[in-house]
């Protein structure tokens, strides 16, 4: 560190001359066969140097670009001076999941998209820095552990769902002195962070560490409780001063093509839950099975599809393929993930739409019958519309087919709460500014309101809801 200039002694010109850091990553060939994390994280010197690229703008556009409003210039400024514990404390004030967000947020569309340095060169690597500080904090917990000196308000809040929205709201509310209980249907915490996002993108120990932070704040977590089944919304309203519904959009959409019920055909949710939550194919001492295909076709082109196709490769697939009816330019997945997948030997079959899944005499999946497409004129959304090429039908050999088309709202809670207002897709209707639903004291946010969206938007909703709930409890 001795030869690194401190930010105080550097000229603006010197700082402008620093090039954006590159994230070191595990070798593609080696990592495509294991579940260890792909991005290796920055070392301290690299993180501090990158932090020195931040110009600490007055306008703070980056903060506006962050759905949870992390004090970005402030934490980066502390980091640039080597004050790691201070940087960590600043981060923790605004987010309960910094080590998660630093890894899975699409920064290129959010904070980093707004960074002034991105105008002439590359934006400050805000996500990498958030991850570095959060990881450091998790390893030096004694130096950053929050002294909980909040005054208890005596008010209680029930949070339905321990995913990103619920965790964020619970953290915010606990810091304001409310007694929070999270009810989670599964046997472990994290929601999609646990069952959906694979270990190689988000190590599960990170979720454990961040959830431990919640418990430090006095939040109670009750697992194996399904609201709508074990307890009803009505019971929660009777027992708690306020309720936040954040149970996500966990219902998979089906392909509705022939052959969907053949053996070896999975929804992305089932495939990822078996591997991530249950450890199938990944942990030696786990009893949950999975069909490990030699040739795997994943239908879809979002981040979930990328997680499936990269997971299938790690489970031993010789060919692990993305099947998408448009081209690479239209793929909704993050550019970084597409790049990672390519390095790992994932194949992309573009301009191809599935028509049917074919099986053998024992009803095991053998192939995907596909229609080849070409791109036509842009449609109303500006994307060029795929059009079938007449007669161009091909069979793509595949012994496992995974449908990653997206999810819908889960009706378990709403089935037993007819008084709760839903929209025509079954999503809960809530106010954008306060997250309030049509029921007094009941708030909702995350995918149950939006339909399948991103981790960071769910966290933003959790933050909005916490403010709305706090306001409601203060005037109650």
């Amino acid at each position: 560190m001795s030869d690194t200039k401190t930010v105080a002694t550097m000229s603006m010109k010197e700082r402008m001359a620093i090039e954006r850091v590159k994230m070191p990553e595990a070798d593609g060939t080696v990592r495509s066969r294991n579940f260890q994390e792909v991005n290796l994280g920055l070392n301290e010197a690299a993180a501090i140097l990158e932090a020195q690229r931040c110009l600490n703008c007055k306008k703070r556009n980056c903060v506006v670009g962050c759905p949870v409003g992390v004090s970005i210039p402030e934490f980066i400024s502390a980091l640039s001076q080597g004050k790691l514990a201070e940087a960590a404390k600043i981060l923790k004030k605004d987010t309960s999941l910094p080590a998660v967000c630093g890894r899975v947020c699409p920064q290129e569309k959010q904070c980093e998209a707004e960074c002034v340095r991105g105008v002439k060169s590359l934006p400050v690597a805000i996500g990498y820095l958030e991850r570095f500080v959060a990881d450091w904090a998790n390893q030096h917990i004694d130096q950053v552990r929050e002294k909980v000196s909040v005054t208890p308000t005596g008010k209680t809040v029930a949070v339905v769902g321990c995913g990103p929205a619920g965790i964020t709201a619970a953290g915010e509310l606990a810091r304001k002195g409310h007694k929070v209980t999270i009810f989670e249907a599964l046997h472990d915490t994290g929601g999609v962070l646990r069952y959906g996002i694979p270990e190689f993108r988000l190590p599960k120990t990170i979720i454990d560490q961040e959830v431990a932070g919640l418990k430090d704040l006095g939040v109670t977590i009750e697992l194996n409780v399904i609201i709508g089944k074990t307890l009803t919304l009505k019971q929660l309203r009777e027992e708690f001063d306020a309720v936040f519904i954040a149970n996500g959009a966990g219902l998979p959409m089906m392909l509705n093509i022939p052959g969907e019920n053949l053996k070896g055909v999975y929804s992305a949710n089932e495939f990822l839950t078996r591997v991530n939550l249950m450890g199938a194919g990944q942990l030696a001492d786990c009893s949950t099975p999975i069909v490990q295909g030699k040739r795997v076709a994943v239908i879809g082109a979002g981040n979930t599809a990328m997680d499936c196709v990269r997971t299938a490769r790690r489970l031993g697939a010789e060919r692990s393929m993305i099947v998408y009816r448009r081209t690479e330019a239209e793929m909704p997945a993050r550019v970084e993930e597409i790049h990672h997948a390519k390095d790992e030997g994932v194949e992309f079959v573009f301009l191809t739409a599935p028509l049917a899944i074919l099986g053998d005499k024992d009803n095991w999946c053998t192939a995907l019958k596909c229609q080849k497409m070409e791109l036509g004129e842009p449609d109303a959304s500006g994307r060029r519309k795929p059009i079938a090429i007449e007669g161009a039908i091909e069979d793509l050999q595949a012994d496992v087919v995974i449908n990653a088309l997206g999810t819908r709202a889960n009706p378990l809670l709403s089935q037993t709460a007819p008084e709760l207002q839903l929209n025509k897709w079954g999503n809960v209707v809530s106010d954008e500014k306060t997250a309030a639903t049509n029921l007094a004291g009941v708030f909702a946010g995350g995918d149950i309101v939006r339909g399948g969206a991103t981790v960071i938007l769910a966290m933003g909703d959790g933050k909005v809801a916490a403010a709305g709930i706090h306001e409601y409890l203060s005037t109650k």
Binding site: I226, M254, E270, S287, T288
Partner: protein, 281 residues
Amino acid sequence: MFDVLSNEVLAPDLHKMVVRAPRIAKARKAGQFVIVRADVGEERIPLTIGDADVEQGTISLFIQAIGASTRKIVGIPAGGKIRDVAGPLGLPTHIEKWGRVACIGGGVGTAVLYPLVKALAQNNEITTIIGGRSSPYVILVDELSALSKHLEITTDDGSRGRKGFVTNVLADMMSDPARRPDAVFAVGPGPMMKAVAEMTRPEKIPTIVSLNPIMIDGTGMCGGCRVDVGGEVKFACVDGPEFDGHLVDFDLLRDRLATYRDHERKALEQCAPDKCKIGRG
């Protein structure tokens, strides 16, 4: 963690376990199930809630030790703990005033049938038909007898009750105008439920079956338990587990249940009595 209060052997490889789960006991209705995970690293499996005692805060589970995971669960003694019990899941049995109802249970299906009979008996006249391979496999006779106007027992080898299958008794009932059922509930192996549904279909007797596909979460988020009912994809965990037997594609159900057969066989071999420490305290 959920306390196991008792663990009793009802028949060869069939256990009744009473587990403390006050919230589930209070919320459950006939026809619903729980998802159970014995311990860290174990799979999640669905088990019907056989009975519940709200005051004691307990539920009863009837478990057939058929594979490695169920053996592990029944190996947990009274005083021990089950890691995870989540529920009640699924839709409750649709209870209606049918009149004369035939309730048919085969093997461990008899245990799944028991709560249905208990609920249906309140406003229906019940004939219960239960079958087993041989005498030791016939269970819950006294309990079901107390709830039913008639109780008929069949065994494949004739060691108890009538020799033959439950469907023989049903055939007799259907051909006798004085005994013809107004509705039939059937719970048991797929082929048995299919045979019952085929018998009642021409007579248009409403027939409800309880399906047992592979499940993971049990809350509708994965579709692993999907079944074909009347040409539509249904998730048994949220839309069922009970369906109109005349609409169910039983061949598909049987086929999908075979998905992990090789894996299950291997797991069971590793759990062979000379190697396995599971289930022996």
